[in-house]
């Protein structure tokens, strides 16, 4: 039994490695399109730079909600990095479509875990994305280096990287969980729309959530969406530090564990509900 387990582990690793390699090759098919797309993704940032420049010109204040004009530009640049980690385009719709269309049964009859497969597929996507997007990202950050106050210290940088990696996993499990609603509902597009809306607005992608005060600000800060964009950017800019940073990372980790459990539970019970007909 123990020997079987020892033999099973390398072969399993080999399977996952093969899956990862296939996914990477698949993602590299349209690499030119991919690189151009990455560079273009920064175009909305140009309009944001001019918009906030005009807002600061109109207000004559040095800071808005604790952010200077330079902070705002740096914030939007950093949210682009954070969203590059946490965004999972097409994951939820893909899962729901596979459930509805019956494609999901391939995971039920083959010895491959669906959630693991999808996670590896996204890891491959992100690896390729950063491989191809590194040059456009480096170019944009180099051109915009004047908006930053230099590199943060090692501890802040470690916390930033940790928040990005957890942001990736939170983004994945949140989207996968939404997709798995397809086991219970035939059409999940409207729910997915609400989810996308929440993600866009509550993640801090549009504006730093510090701009919101009162109960609305409090509500935004209780949501896991902030870890998808706002939280890593705020760490890098030093807006969250000390005990608040440690507490924030702990809460992010707790959200991640809760989402993994929820996703696994949804898949477990969803598969029990699933009925596939035909060949």
């Amino acid at each position: 039994m123990a020997a079987a387990a020892i033999h099973a582990s390398p072969s399993k690793l080999k399977t996952w490695w093969t899956i990862l390699r296939i996914c990477i090759e698949e993602r590299l098919v349209y690499r030119g399109d991919f690189a151009l797309g990455t560079l273009m993704r920064f175009l909305p940032l140009v309009t944001q730079v001019f918009l906030w420049s005009a807002v600061f010109a109109g207000t004559k204040q040095q800071e808005i909600a604790g952010y200077s004009y330079r902070d705002f530009v740096a914030y939007y640049l950093l949210t682009n990095v954070a969203r590059a980690f946490s965004s999972m385009p097409g994951l939820a719709t893909g899962i729901a479509r596979q459930v509805r269309g019956g494609e999901i049964k391939k995971f039920l009859i083959q010895p491959v875990d669906m959630v693991g497969f999808l996670l590896l597929s996204r890891v491959a996507h992100k690896l390729v994305y950063y491989g191809v997007a590194l040059a456009p990202f480096a170019l944009v950050f180099y051109l915009c280096r004047g908006f930053f106050n230099g590199w943060p210290d090692a501890a802040t940088m470690t916390a930033f990287v940790a928040s990005l990696l957890m942001g990736f996993l939170i983004g994945f499990y949140m989207e996968a969980l939404m997709g798995m609603l397809g086991f219970w509902m035939l059409e999940v597009s409207s729910l997915l729309f609400v989810f996308i809306l929440f993600t866009f607005f509550f993640s801090g992608h549009m504006f730093p959530i510090d701009m919101l005060s009162g109960w609305l600000g409090w509500f935004f800060r209780q949501m896991p969406f902030q870890y998808l964009a706002y939280f890593p950017a705020a760490i890098f800019l030093g807006k969250i530090s000390g005990p608040d940073l440690a507490w924030g990372l702990a809460v992010e980790f707790a959200w991640l564990i809760a989402l993994i459990i929820a996703c696994r539970t949804a898949f477990h019970y969803g598969v029990k509900r699933y009925a596939g007909y035909g060949g």
Binding site: G37, T47, F50, L51, A54, G58, I64, M211
Partner: protein
């Protein structure tokens, strides 16, 4: 049965050919619009959800700008874009975008797929202008919800500004909204037509969204070392800054000499954009190789 009598089909065909081209195309478009409405009404719950979706996005954007105006009295110093002037600008953006999204976007999105799958063959075989057919065959009625939202927002903003536009402005406003739609459509169909050469043009399609993003803000914000060249390029070369700015100026304030000259230029630019996109579409069709046979 008397064989000399024309059949119902022959009568219909004769009637159709007796019509002038604009009225025939008008009738075909009405048929497309009707069919789309019938399809939308078949799935009413879905239609209602789509309307709510469209309105939610707009409410969210409006919320964002309300938040911005909590911190500043105007967008830019001395630009004249105060809170309600900017909301009138936003309403104009909504008018233009809702028309583009209702009539053209679902079709140009489909064009790339038609080219890839060879489905364009069927469009080419029909006895009607291909660009007309592929641009207007489907109407997304739910996108027009934003049109009503925009009308309410514009009315409310004008009330708050206390500015009553004169008759010339009221008459010119729909004309310039139409010009804005024409310019955006030209860019969209040009990019969609490039699918024939490129096979896949997702990036170029994204490019449309990113470029039109520039049109969503007042022209005055693009100033300074980097802003001025952008302002000139997006006004005179790729005139996306005229799409919303010109009609919005008409509604919120009297135009100065430069703005009037840009208003005249917008008419010329629209005609040029439409002609150029027509030419590109025609050239692209010449390179089309059916994928289905």
């Amino acid at each position: 049965m008397n064989s000399e009598l024309p059949t119902r089909y022959e009568i219909r065909t004769e009637r159709a050919s007796a019509r002038s081209a604009p009225s025939r195309y008008g009738a075909v478009f009405l048929m497309f619009a009707r069919n789309s409405l019938v399809r939308d009404m078949t799935f009413r719950a879905n239609f209602i959800i789509e309307v709510i979706s469209a309105l939610s996005w707009m409410s969210m954007y409006l919320g964002f700008y309300i938040l911005i105006f909590e911190y500043t009295p105007s967008i830019g110093a001395g630009t004249g874009w105060g809170k309600y002037q900017f909301f009138a600008f936003l309403a104009t953006t909504l008018f233009v975008n809702s028309i583009v999204e209702a009539f053209f976007m679902p079709n140009t999105e489909e064009l790339s797929e038609l080219i890839r799958s060879g489905g364009l063959d069927f469009a080419l075989l029909k006895p009607i202008d291909t660009q007309f057919l592929v641009s207007l065959q489907r109407v997304d009625w739910s996108s027009l919800a934003n049109f009503l939202f925009a009308a309410c927002l514009l009315g409310y903003s004008l009330l708050k500004i206390g500015h009553v536009p004169g008759w010339p402005q009221l008459l010119l406003y729909p004309l310039y909204v139409g010009c804005g739609v024409g310019m955006l459509y030209s860019l969209m169909i040009t990019l969609a037509a490039t699918s024939i050469w490129l096979g896949r043009n997702q990036t170029l399609y994204d490019f449309w969204f990113y470029i039109t993003n520039f049109s969503r803000y007042p022209r005055e914000i693009y100033s300074g070392t980097y802003g001025t060249p952008l302002n000139i390029a997006f006004t005179y070369i790729l005139p996306v800054l005229l799409v919303v700015n010109v009609p919005a100026w008409l509604m919120v304030r009297p135009l100065n000499a430069e703005e009037w000259s840009l208003a005249v230029y917008a008419l010329v630019a629209t005609a040029a954009c439409l002609a150029l996109s027509r030419w590109v579409f025609g050239r692209a069709l010449l390179s089309y190789r059916s994928a289905s046979s």
